[in-house]
């Protein structure tokens, strides 16, 4: 149990890479890239977790204490999610334009950049 979350994170990263290598559609390749990135979310949050600890938000019920989950990995994962959303949008825009210019979204049939 102590390393299972890390292996799930590594599995997502490698499956995402496999998705890009095998994909027949550029949108599918971009979606697989975001799956690979989800591997980093799982790894970061797994590294910051503490058994029995609560969320790092204090209020009237929970007085400030140190028995909370690591907030810094959550901040890093938040930034990572924003990066994922925006870079995915940019790459989808490029994929749409590639399909418009070369008539096919399949990377195998793209002829433009050779040699």
């Amino acid at each position: 149990m102590s390393v299972y979350p890390y292996f799930v994170a590594a599995w997502l990263m490698l499956v995402g890479g496999y998705g890009i290598v095998r994909s027949r559609n550029l949108v599918h390749a971009v979606v697989s890239l975001s799956v690979a990135q989800a591997g980093t979310y799982v790894l970061l949050l797994a590294v910051g977790y503490q058994r029995g600890a609560l969320a790092p938000v204090f209020g009237s019920t929970t007085k400030p204490n140190k028995h909370v989950v690591d907030p810094v990995v959550q901040a890093m994962t938040l930034t990572d999610i924003v990066v994922s959303a925006t870079v995915t949008a940019l790459l989808l825009a490029l994929a749409v334009q590639v399909n418009k210019r070369q008539g096919t979204p399949d990377p195998d049939e793209l002829q433009a950049l050779k040699g």
């Binding site: 058994r51 938000v57 400030p64 825009a93």
Partner: protein, 267 residues
């Protein structure tokens, strides 16, 4: 390379990388352990600045330049999408034809949900430093909420009630406000992105100094940015189509009947 050769090369590489990961994972501290050095530093630092939500304190106070970089990535991507999805030289924007009819029930639900969603989004933005949520999450809720107009009405209704220039300016103002507060930190306290506003009382709406201000700037920026982003994807799908297709007598695709309103005709 052929597909199979590519797969073989990948599997060899991925196999070794998987072995690498395994070796490293068994050397890492066990999952759920209690040794978190950065947390032991971040929690007291957050409490010292009267911020109840420690994640918001890390995001907007202790490591604020990460969030500045993150929001600038959002601005760069929205500008990039706007540049990449503009109508090409030989394309033009058609007036979208009213297609299909929305159910009365959906319309009613939409009109009821719209103000509620916008209110929730605003609440999530403003309470960023007290409860889970914050500028980014609230901005996303606001952006998706606005698109209820499209669900209930038609694209033309959405287009009329959502002037893109206003949202472009809103996004730019949000990003500039974030950097401006940072520069104000230098002017007032000599440190970029310093928490220069008095802390207020712990756990209340007015607490945590500049965190709510930065949350508001990010909320404005993300809300406008995602509306512009989705708008460009909607435009690309609904109203931009190739010029040559327009000249064809028959026409299978639906924007056929729309007359051209485009500005970027090929001279």
């Amino acid at each position: 390379m052929s597909r199979s050769a590519r797969l073989v090369v990948f599997l060899i590489g991925a196999g070794c990388v998987a072995a690498m990961f395994a070796v490293a994972f068994f050397k890492m501290p066990a999952f759920g352990g209690s040794m978190h050095l950065y947390r032991d530093l971040a929690v007291p630092a957050s409490v010292s600045h009267y911020t109840a939500n420690v994640v918001a304190s890390v995001n907007f106070d202790q490591r604020a330049i990460d969030t500045l970089g993150e929001e600038t990535i959002l601005v760069a991507s929205v500008i990039g999408a706007a540049v990449l999805l503009r109508p090409a030289e030989e394309e033009a924007e058609m007036r979208p034809k009213a297609v299909g009819r929305t159910l009365e029930a959906t319309k009613l639900a939409g009109y009821l949900l719209l103000p509620v969603t916008l209110l929730i989004g605003l609440d999530v933005v403003l309470h960023g430093q007290v409860t889970p949520g914050g500028g980014f999450q609230g901005g996303v809720i606001l952006a998706t909420g606005l698109h209820l107009l499209y669900v209930t009405g038609s694209y033309r209704a959405l287009d009329r009630l959502r002037p893109l220039e206003l949202f472009d300016t809103g996004e730019a103002v949000g990003a500039a406000a974030f950097a401006g507060v940072g520069i104000a930190g230098i002017v007032v306290a000599g440190n970029f992105l310093a928490n220069i506003v008095p802390g207020g009382t712990f756990g209340q709406l007015l607490s945590a100094g500049t965190v709510p201000i930065l949350n508001g700037a990010v909320g404005l920026e993300v809300g406008c940015g995602i509306v512009v982003l989705v708008a460009h994807f909607l435009q690309q799908d609904i109203i931009i189509s190739a010029q040559a297709e327009q000249a064809k007598p028959g026409g299978s695709s639906e924007p056929q009947a729309g007359e051209r309103v485009g500005t970027a005709e090929r001279s």
